[in-house]
Amino acid sequence: MVLKVFFPQCCNRADSGLLVGRWISGHDSAVVLAVVHYPFIPGQVKQYVQQMKAQSGGELSVLGSWSLPKDGQEGMESFLRDLSTIFPQERWLQINRQLGKTGFTCQVLQRDQNGKVIQRETKKKVEGGDEEEEEEEEKVIFVHYEQKKVMFSQLHPLENGVPDPKTDPPSELRQMFQSVAGSAPLFFLDRYDDGPLKSTHWQSDGREASILVELLKQASVPLCMLLGWLLSIWTWISNARVFSLFPLRFLSSKLSTCVQLSHRTEHMRTLSSAKPAAGHTHFIRKANMVVSFLVDVSLGMLLIWWLYRDDHISMLANTLVPAADHVAKELEELLQWLMGAPAGLKMNRALDQVLGRFFLYHIHLWISYIHLMSPFIEGILWYGGLSACFGLTFALSLLSDMVALLTFHIYCFYVYGARLYCLKIYGLSSLWRLFRGKKWNVLRQRVDSCSYDLDQLFIGTLLFTVLLFLLPTTALYYLVFTLLRLVVVLFQGVIHLSVDFINSFPLFAVGLRLTRSHRLAEGVKFRVLCEEPGTALHLLMEINPLKCSTVVQNYRTPTYSCYPKDSWAALIKKLFVGELIYPWRHKTTKTD
């Protein structure tokens, strides 16, 4: 059998003493966690180990002895060997290191079952008589690990919930990581503490920083309470009956500012909850929310600083009205062009004129509306710009809404064109069925054959011809306005994407990956350390950090767009049939 000893790097130069750690069940491996130095009173060590065991909740025992003889410390060998009778164990490790040599040597003393029983009874009389020196073929692999990194790292893929111990026992490495992380109370014993026991293990150098963290934690409690109180007021306001009336509810579900507001409220509610984060994923998710909120607000402040510095607001307002005018004028010219012979096509003149006049009248209405609005636009922009102090996402959502409102005429044209076109397509398809002597059976959801009268056939064919010949005119109007609509939708989609990106990008996790790459571990990697003949194999275990793409995938915040994403084919089909498309319907984001 091969024995694997996970040995912390910080204990490489520790003074002689006892090895404290645990055996990993099911595998032939031992995790050394600390070295308790000589001199000690065995009773105290036992008590200490029991105490630590109770605190950490895991298994903990004395594994064996460690000796690094210094000058004037001869004769330790036999003493440390005798210790194995004081701490009864199935196996007793004796790890020796000579000064000046890099490799360790390890001996394993093993007792059989009978011997163990005898041993317990006659502890003091028998001096290792019933211990069997194991055969020399027993091989040992030393795996050196850095205690701090292993303790703080989180092995991926994460275990969700409590794993069923019978079906899927955690792998050896996972158990090893868990045992190091679980024995944190062991590491509180300071090197300079004046207690009965001295031990070597990893110990935190940043006690001062941890005091700061503790203070921050204390300070966050009233902050969370304040936040929770504000949130409850906000919830009370938004639950007021006025807001649940039909038009307001409908509007608020369509305005991206309102959606963003509810999304942020949800975030804040998660953050202000008094319960501590359950598990690693939840913690990282919360931290992501905090960081993305802070980044969002600071970007928003930057935007405000830019907007209000040199009176950019009035500049924007002064350019907005002429721009809207210009768009309307361009649209008018486009309509005039469509009313003639666009691209040399010969349209149905009467229908063409009717549609053109209708749209022209609409534009006329729109221009007068804009001119009516123009004195107020600066004020609206000024107050709207203040919303950026809630974050850049709010400003962007507001921009998206404003674009939607300012291009309302394009939307109207699109809806009229699409409705007309849709009507024609449906009429044509049903009349085409009539043409072939069939009809759509609504009850059975299929096409049945049907015998029509002569009159019905005559009227149907006539209508079919009329619709067919009028189709190109409406199709042209539909095409042009759909293209305009698509430009607007594309713009809004880009804004929504960027808002979504700010909302869901796991900034904290990525930062953690970049600065403390051991915190998120994908696995481990080994390096062969030294090869001295006669010593055991020494491996160095390093942490293999998670890939950045995996980090983003695992930890991105779920977004609010719960609509199913339209595929391109579905979108094109919709466009072809003349169904309406909306930016909030085919947002190109995934939900978690």
Binding site: V2, K4, D28, K139, I141, V143, T167, D168, P169, S171, E172, L173, E522, G523, V524, K525, F526, V528, E531, A536, L537, L539, N544
Partner: protein, 180 residues
């Protein structure tokens, strides 16, 4: 170690380095020859000549500078993401198998497979383009069903050594794996 020359499936010379750290751990490194200067020359010359031809007709100097940019970025991406310098396989008894490949720029990707997940190491055949090649692969198993093979991890994916090299690696891997 006998001086046997190995080639990859395209007939280029590669070198295999077997290191036995102890009886429990062996390391195999397959080194691929460095990128040849001729290839680099041909690549840069072709890009620059093309750019010059475009420049001749359009008389726009941005074409030339973008050609320089494209060659530099292309070469950097090539040595960072494509060109593998050597691939190594460390087999540690009762602990696992570690695969790593280091790229020409020094970037290293490593993955470690625990022994509890490994079913076996085998040499497999595969259809690759228009030929049939041999490759070494690790068969993985699910701990819940120890008899079934859940997935296959191919080894030496970018160097693609020929059968004689694979057999040598395979034999010494099996020596360690079967030593339970």
């Amino acid at each position: 170690m006998e001086d046997e020359t190995f080639t990859d499936i395209n007939g280029k010379a590669i070198s295999l380095d077997c290191q036995s750290h102890s009886s429990l751990c062996r390391e195999f490194t397959v080194s691929v020859p460095k990128v040849s200067i001729g290839k680099v020359l041909v690549f840069t010359c072709s890009v620059w000549l093309l750019a010059y031809a475009v420049f001749f007709f359009t008389e726009n100097t941005a074409v030339l500078s973008s050609a320089i940019f494209v060659t530099l970025v292309g070469m950097m991406l090539y040595i960072h993401f494509v060109k593998v310098d050597h691939e190594s396989l460390i087999v540690i008894h009762s602990l696992g198998i570690q695969l790593s490949s280091s790229f020409a720029s020094g970037r290293e990707t490593t993955s470690f497979i625990e022994m509890s997940k490994i079913k076996d190491i085998v040499i497999n055949e595969a259809i690759y383009m228009h030929q049939i090649i041999y490759y070494l692969c690790v068969l993985l198993k699910d701990p819940s069903e120890p008899d079934a093979v859940s997935s296959v991890v191919p080894l030496f994916q970018s160097s693609k050594p020929r059968l004689n090299c694979l057999v040598k690696v395979y034999k010494s891997c099996q020596e360690i794996l079967s030593k339970c």
